[in-house]
Amino acid sequence: MESCPSIKNILLLDSEGNRVAVKYYSDEWPNNSVKEAFEKSLFSKTQKTNARTEAEIAMFESHIIVYKFVQDLHFFVTGAENENELILVTVLQGFFEAVGLLLRGTVDKKEALENLDLILLCLDEIVDGGIILETDANVIAGKVASHSIDAAAPLSEQTISQALATAREHLARSLLK
């Protein structure tokens, strides 16, 4: 309890339970087959629940897991059994909102795979070795997007400024709320 809140893994699966991008921070899952088994059973346990409007929560193999589904993407964040559930859900929220900003609102598997580099950078910016780095979706997306500035390709720069515009718009909306 005295310890720093820590994240055990962040998973992004598709609507059939296959990996889009996953990141494990705990060595409780020693190898890939154990990880896949975990993902599979977690997926089958949660797939029937309705986690589209609000993030849902479950106890699973003595972990606390918060999750949210958007289109055909399933977002999961796992923490220890005695972790503060609301901290975990803050991380989850930061993750899927940042993905939403980076994919410019089109959050589905196809778009996610096409922009897998952004998703991976996004994961890299949220948690470092289990410790929460950042939870604010706008900041996360900002950090990822600003890095994609590509001097050689002005076209992509334009799309990035669009992304930033979306981010700004989103921020304004959240302030008005």
């Binding site: 809140p5 154990v34 609301l86 890299d124 890095h147 590509d150």
Partner: protein, 886 residues
């Protein structure tokens, strides 16, 4: 790994489900990675290739050592590019590849250049990468930059340095501890997350210094902490301080309680919840202190967010265990949660209600639960059943309705675990509530009428045999029991025969009728059933005369078998022609080792990547295996076999683990090998052991494995001679040597010509604990007294700074390899001293008892007093030597 993707697309051929990674293949991507070496770098293309590599890694693909090194070196070339996006991907892939120490040197200078760059993003990421891959020596070189970074005005850079500090504290504490001034400054940062990371690091640096933590908490609770996450941390640290100080100020107000209560009015929900939870977990919390926390949790119960509801109900559920009255105010909100979409929340609500409910509300509650039970999973039902059992024990007068409920759900569909939970509950209720006995037994009788689980049927029959004869009308159970003899499988039939015999023994009035039934069982087609019937007819005097059953027979029927079942395995070798079997010859001590091993293997999910281990690993099996090998037959009696030690990492080409067999004058290493490559057949497999670091050992024999086909484990052995009775220790390096032959996967036939090859295994150590058998004693004090002080040796040791007392205790237990007794291996949190009792049997079958007294000396230094008693003074001395040299 791309396979599932392809397959999926085949399934729905008309729908275009395009994936940029469709048909991706490792070899091709590795080829593509050559673009990293182009003199004219194309950043976009390089980024794409890195993404592909990361995709492969993410899908679980592994790179061989050579491949990883190649990719790594190619990636380091990309530092030449000034493209930011590409650089960002380079950082990520370096972390994923986790290069080895000699490779790290290649990127160190590039990363150090980035660390001092003007671009914040470079600085932050270079710090994170470098700290992830660095070792201690490099750290001193970059320490200066890290200290600067901690107080950098850019929050991202500062956070990167602080988080890296938290990780490095595990490996290089003495270096990170030198940064506390900078970290202290960062705690005051205006950036929310910097404050959070700084606070986490500062606390970890000081966590063993109670005074410093106390000071930190008092100063911060007065000031304003901006970040909600940092505030949560502060609450955790505060409750730690409270926990440690309550002993001093039992009277009067609790220090810092006001701070926790103040946090209940924080604007962030995560802080409110953290504070509420902290209050409910205070030691000896009063109801006055609880009230404000319960009030905010109650508000959460009606939130629209499932996570909030879950968090609140889970906390209240815990509170209900110790303070049921404090939670009753929430009962109305709780009842509405029974219909919650999220079944975890509903179950927690139900069980909380069951804990807080009063006698009058039980019936109403049961009605609600009945509707609820039909649509939740078994795992939740088990929780509910447990809660109902405790409720029934609390309100014995309500046993009728609760017992009815249990019997109703017993009749419904359900898996084994669930049914077992119900049966266990009924059995406990019958035992503890006399009025519930008769109805409970009848419920169980009805259940076995159509129970599909043999285990449960036999358990219930056994229980009926004990409780049934004591009821007012035992005869009414006979019909249920005898029905089993007609309708069930052999195991249950045999159980039923035993139960009938028990009725016959206890109730004289029933004897003649029982005899009739037992005689019918003599014609059963199963040996065991017939044998039991014959045995009972004879012991009960079934030759017609109704005689008083004597005590010996009752003892035989009802007494428990006082030898562990595992030890009876020797019966399998029992030859009936010899003298009569004597139960007293069976050892009564449980050999703990096979049990421990069984536990270890059953915990692992089976078939999930863990390579199949060799033969069954119980001591008996080992003994049989070794004595069947002529080379080892002369070594005498096997003293101990260790648990398997892995010598390869998971998922390598060849999986090898080793079992150390200890004899009086010899040591045999049993290497269990598995070949995981379908295209290969290994022949003449041996392990070449280099014992140059184990001076007292001389190799005497080696038994190669002739063939090792794919996926069928085999063993090879190497034996060493060592001085008789001496617990020699040493380190052995191992090399697997074999002839490899290609196998045609279509025909399964191996080619004739093979190539000799070697495969480096990890080193193996023989330590003092290998000569110690874990054998527990039930009453340590008695054993200690009876051992006497003749060969007692007592001495004191300083163990130096340790993370905690528990860690020190564990270290000594592992060093000695002895069995902790009476649960003394568990150290209560925050205790300053601890006594641990150990027992074991040392090489040469010498019983050893150890009493360890630990104490904290200063903030972290652990001192230990070691008292050893054994049957042999040299062994007592040896134990001291082990500790002194460990």
């Amino acid at each position: 790994m791309a396979q599932p993707l392809v397959k999926k697309d085949d399934d729905r051929d008309d729908e275009v489900d395009y994936s940029p990674f469709l048909g991706i293949e490792k070899g091709a991507v590795l080829q593509e990675a050559r673009v990293f070496n182009d003199p004219q770098l194309d950043p976009r293309r390089c980024s794409q290739v890195i993404t592909k590599l990361l995709y492969l890694l993410n899908q679980g693909e592994t790179f061989t050592k050579v491949e990883a090194t190649e990719v790594f070196f190619a990636v380091t070339k990309l530092f030449q590019s000034r493209d930011m996006g590409l650089r960002r991907m380079v950082y990520v892939i370096i972390k994923e590849l986790s290069p080895s120490a000699d490779e790290v040197i290649i990127v160190t200078s590039s990363l150090m250049k980035d660390m001092t760059s003007k671009t914040d993003m470079y600085r932050a990421n270079a710090i994170r990468v470098l700290c992830r891959i660095t070792d201690g020596t490099l750290l001193t070189q970059i320490e200066r930059y890290l200290k600067q970074a901690i107080v950098d005005k850019n929050p991202v850079v500062a956070s990167a340095a602080l988080v890296s500090g938290i990780h490095l504290l595990q490996t290089n504490p003495e270096i990170v501890k030198r940064w506390s001034n900078e970290v202290q400054e960062a705690v005051q940062s205006r950036a929310a997350l910097v404050q959070f990371h700084a606070l986490a690091l500062l606390h970890q640096i000081r966590q063993n210094d109670r005074l410093a933590v106390n000071k930190l908490v008092s100063s911060l609770t007065r000031g304003s902490v901006r970040s909600p996450l940092a505030q949560c941390l502060l609450i955790r640290y505060t409750s730690q301080v409270i926990r440690e100080s309550t002993n001093d100020t039992q009277t009067g107000d609790r220090p810092f309680y006001d701070f926790l209560e103040g946090c209940l009015r924080h604007k962030a929900e995560m802080v409110i919840f953290e504070a509420a939870r902290a209050i409910t977990e205070l030691n000896g919390v009063t109801s006055r202190e609880l009230t404000p926390a319960i009030t905010v949790l109650q508000l959460f119960l009606s939130s629209s967010k499932p996570v909030l509801r879950f968090a609140a109900v889970r906390t209240l559920n815990k509170v209900a265990m110790s303070h049921p009255m404090a939670v009753t105010n929430c009962n109305i909100d709780m009842e509405s949660l029974i219909s919650d979409q999220n079944r975890s929340i509903a179950t927690l609500a139900i069980t909380t209600l069951l804990k807080t409910g009063n006698e009058s509300s039980v019936d109403r509650l049961m009605k609600q639960i009945t509707n609820f039970m039909s649509d939740i999973a078994d795992e939740f039902k088990i929780v509910v059943v447990d809660a109902i059992r405790s409720l029934c024990l609390k309100f014995p007068l309500k046993h009728r309705s609760l017992m009815n409920f249990l019997s109703n759900i017993l009749r419904e569909e359900g898996g084994f675990e669930y049914k077992k939970a119900i049966v266990d509950s009924i059995v406990i209720l019958i035992r503890d509530i006399p009025e519930a006995k008769e109805s409970g037994l009848l419920h169980l009788c009805e259940f076995i009428e159509d129970c599909e689980f043999t285990y449960l049927s036999t358990q219930i029959l056994h229980f009926l045999g004990i409780e049934g004869p004591k009821t007012s009308d035992p005869s009414k159970y006979i019909r249920y029991i005898y029905n089993r003899v007609h309708l069930e499988n052999a195991t249950v039939r045999a159980g039923a025969v035993s139960t009938l015999a028990k009725f016959g023994a206890m109730v004289d009035g029933l004897k003649p009728r029982i005899f009739v039934l037992l005689r019918r069982c003599l014609f059963d087609n199963d040996d065991e059933v017939r044998d039991r019937a014959t045995l009972y007819l004879n012991t009960l005097g079934g030759d017609g005369a109704v005689v008083e059953t004597d005590e010996g027979v009752k003892e035989f029927l009802f007494g428990s078998l006082d030898v562990p079942l595992v030890n009876l395995n020797s019966l399998k070798n029992y030859d009936p022609s010899e003298k009569a079997f004597d139960i007293n010859s069976v050892p009564k001590d449980v050999k703990t080792q096979p049990l421990a091993e069984k536990k270890a293997t059953s915990k692992k999910p089976t078939g999930l990547g863990a390579p199949p281990h060799g033969p069954p690993s119980t001591v008996d099996a080992y003994e049989k295996l070794l004595s069947s090998i002529p080379e080892f037959a002369s070594f005498g009696k096997l003293f101990k076999s260790s648990a398997p030690v892995e010598l390869t990492e998971a998922e390598t080409e060849y999986a090898v683990n080793v079992v150390k067999h200890i004899f009086d004058g010899h040591v045999v290493f049993q290497y269990n090998c598995t070949n995981t490559i379908p295209e290969q057949l290994l022949e003449n497999v041996t392990v070449i052991v280099d014992a140059s670091e184990a001076e007292e050992f001389a190799e005497v024999a080696s038994k190669p494995l002739r063939q090792l086909p794919y996926d069928s484990p085999g063993q090879t052995f190497v034996a060493f001679e060592k001085p008789e009775g001496v617990s020699a220790v040493g380190k052995f390096s191992n090399m697997l040597r074999f002839i490899v032959k290609e196998v045609d996967p279509s025909t399964g036939e191996a080619e004739d010509d093979g190539v000799e090859d070697e495969y480096q295994l990890e080193d193996l150590e023989l330590v003092a604990a290998d000569y110690m058998l874990k054998v527990g004693v039930s009453n340590f004090r008695n054993a200690w007294e009876s051992m006497g002080v003749d060969f007692e040796r007592v001495d004191e040791y300083g163990l130096g700074p340790r993370d905690s007392l528990a860690e020190a205790v564990n270290a000594v237990i592992n060093l000695l390899g002895m069995q902790p007794c009476e649960g003394t291996e568990v150290v209560p949190p925050n205790s300053r001293s601890h006594t641990c009792l150990l027992s074991g049997v040392y090489l040469g079958n010498v019983k050893v008892l150890v009493r360890l007294q630990f104490g904290l000396d200063g903030p972290k230094d652990v001192a230990m007093k070691l008292a050893v008693r054994s049957e042999d003074e040299t062994v007592s001395d040896t134990i001291h030597e082990i500790v002194a040299s460990g």
